[in-house]
Symmetry: none
């Protein structure tokens, strides 16, 4: 069913609040097989709201609104929806009783404007709100439906989960299943090029590619009569994708690289320590996002200066002098020095030029990643594109994580 999500609220147009409601509802609706065609956001303005509802109904049969159900003067969603759907507001006795009970429970006195919240369109199916004072509702006219929910995300998601989802499930006409694959090491356009044989003939499942902060992801979706059919079609397509770009894919379930690496380290009980120069602690910071990682994450050392590399890791001053701090030789001595200290299964090091300026005559974006693993120390040289200091450091951390990933899945 063609659906629009309509957010009402001046705070969104001011940019004070990011519209997470629209993202949440879109995801939920898509999971249920509804087609979200538009997001609209308008301020607390009755004319523009009415116009937008009429517009959305030209192309859609269902509108979900959030916001504008509060007690204040600028909360006008209900009034405008009545106008659009040829209805009028009446005091709803159930809502009024709920409101009084809620306010008593919260030890708050009902203000005059609160009473407004017990008014409902006369034909509405009321959706009670057990987390706030504004009930939602469903209103239908000539096969077009509006579902109105409050704006605060906590109230809205609760109402959606408990009241709206069962209603939508009953009206569903097909089932969608999808999975998101994540890849590292190839750009979005390269990925699409590799997948063209599949993309060019796609009908169902559909394949969509996305770029995201140095990584790529791929959404494979199928819409079928039953969940089983849809899932089987998606699995079948994943096999074909794996045959083309499987080497780059590290997750079939939209997992972040750091989560995959953390999970594998824990599952295989592989201990790890790290020493960082250009990333300055961000690799350790990323890895310690993973709850429980302390079982395998032994030591992190930030050796930002040359002296620290010598003192903490036993890198030879001659090596730094002869080859520079940003060199294959220094990266190797950092990793093997760390191994001498910690004895961790994996000892990973990084040294590089994060920018904005080149260093030691070496270009921004050049990093060396050293690793001691099973008795051997190896070094990877990575020349990243230089975006900016922040991105370069982020990408360097991803490169380190991917280096760990490659080793432990072998």
């Amino acid at each position: 069913m063609r659906t629009a999500i309509l957010t009402v609220g001046t705070e969104i147009l001011f940019g004070q609040v990011v519209n997470t409601n629209a993202a949440y509802l879109s995801q939920e609706l898509n999971h249920m097989g509804y087609d979200v065609m538009y997001h609209y956001t308008v301020g607390d303005n009755p004319e523009r709201l009415l116009e937008t509802i009429e517009l959305a109904f030209r192309d859609c049969d269902l509108i979900l609104t959030t916001g504008g159900l509060g007690p204040t003067q600028d909360d006008l969603t209900k009034e405008v929806i009545c106008q659009a759907m040829d209805d009028y507001l009446v005091v709803n006795e159930t809502c009024l009783a709920d409101l009084k009970a809620y306010m008593m429970k919260m030890n708050r006195t009902i203000t005059e404007n609160n009473y407004k919240q017990a008014n409902m369109p006369s034909r509405a199916v009321v959706l009670p709100n057990d987390a706030g004072t504004a009930p939602g509702f469903l209103l239908e006219k000539d096969g077009k439906r509006i579902i109105a929910m409050p704006g605060p995300p906590r109230e809205m998601t609760r109402m959606f989960e408990k009241q709206v989802k069962p209603i939508l499930a009953a009206h569903q006409d097909s089932v969608i299943s999808y999975r998101i694959l994540r890849a590292f090491g190839l750009g979005e356009s390269r990925m699409e090029t590799e997948l063209l044989p599949l993309i060019n003939v796609q009908t169902d499942p559909t394949i969509a590619t996305y770029a995201k902060e140095g990584e790529c992801s791929l959404r494979i979706a199928s819409k079928r009569a039953t969940q089983q059919e849809a899932e089987a079609a998606v699995d079948d397509m994943i096999e074909k994708v794996d045959a083309l770009i499987g080497d780059y894919i590290y997750s079939h379930d939209n997992e972040e690289l750091v989560q995959v690496v953390g999970r594998l380290l824990l599952e295989k009980n592989i201990t790890i320590s790290c020493c960082e120069s250009c990333t300055g602690g961000l690799f350790a910071g990323a890895l310690t996002q993973v709850p429980g990682i302390s079982d395998v994450f032994n030591r992190g050392i930030v050796t930002y200066t040359n002296q620290a590399k010598v003192d903490e890791l036993g890198v030879s001053a001659d090596t730094i002098e002869n080859y520079g701090a940003v060199s294959q030789e220094t990266a190797a001595e950092m990793a093997s020095g760390l191994y001498r200290i910690t004895g961790s299964d994996i000892c990973i090091s990084i040294t590089g030029v994060a920018g904005p300026e080149p260093s030691e005559g070496k270009p921004v974006g050049l990093v060396y990643i050293g690793m001691t693993w099973q008795g051997a120390t190896t070094v990877q040289k990575v020349q990243m594109r230089n975006v900016n200091r922040e991105w370069n450091r982020h990408y360097a951390v991803l490169s380190m994580l991917h280096e760990v990933y490659r080793r432990i899945i072998m």
Copy 2:
């Protein structure tokens, strides 16, 4: 000027990506005195995109679009904008040369679909993209203007900041001057309450408060006939704000806390080392965002396990046994141990419970921040609200930075 923000991208309608671009642009446009009337999101569908552009122009004179400028087949924003504005695409030689140079610099080969990105509407003012392969553009027809930017937030914000802002500033019909103050240590509603005497009587300058990831900011704006008048009015209001909540404010120029701290450490040549438990390297990672910080940032150590605290920092095993790893005593020994090793002017430590589960019977969100400074070691206890592991660690880093800030401004 009445403005609409139009986001193009099926991934937004799928709810895979939260539309932070619209929030960012709204905030920036409002700051510049533009009126944002609508947000629209449509998928990669030419008919609906065209219809939405026409619709937005009924009520607005300016549309900012993001997304759909990529190299792939479903990137159709340029084609549709041409249709809406009566123009056609031509190969833009400058864009083509930029693209080739960019791909060469990145060591990537140009794929066939990349060439598409060098096509531009014939009348377009091109907006170069130095962070990616998709240039943006401005196109005008009969007083209506569209500014098209790429979708990835990093590319978009960069292009907006460097190219679009100056264009918008030139088309502004009155002069707005504003400054953004940043505060740490008080919530948004508390800040608003403290400022009510000013907010209640505000006409010009206006005061708006924003909450952002554990910090608060305050925008003071004035719209006057001349830049000088507007600036003077803003400065005058800043004095009044400082009189009320000056203790919490660390920047009058929208500087991030880490940048302020980094600048002060460098200016005063104060050396610093850190050892981290619950933040796992994020403090070091944050501090090393600051270019040139290696002049004063000596050593970072991530002692995530108890053994690491003993081995690396000489924390007594008895202390951990008797008081726990998350304790005032351990935080103090971590900081003083770090001082013995490094001799840095400031040695800061942190130990705490990031969550999701309590640890040692101590609540999630409890952290101890130790600091050795001018011969004395002190410990601050901070009980944060528990949001989630990621937020808790972020807030813990801010607390450490603020602790450093408080000392060095004394």
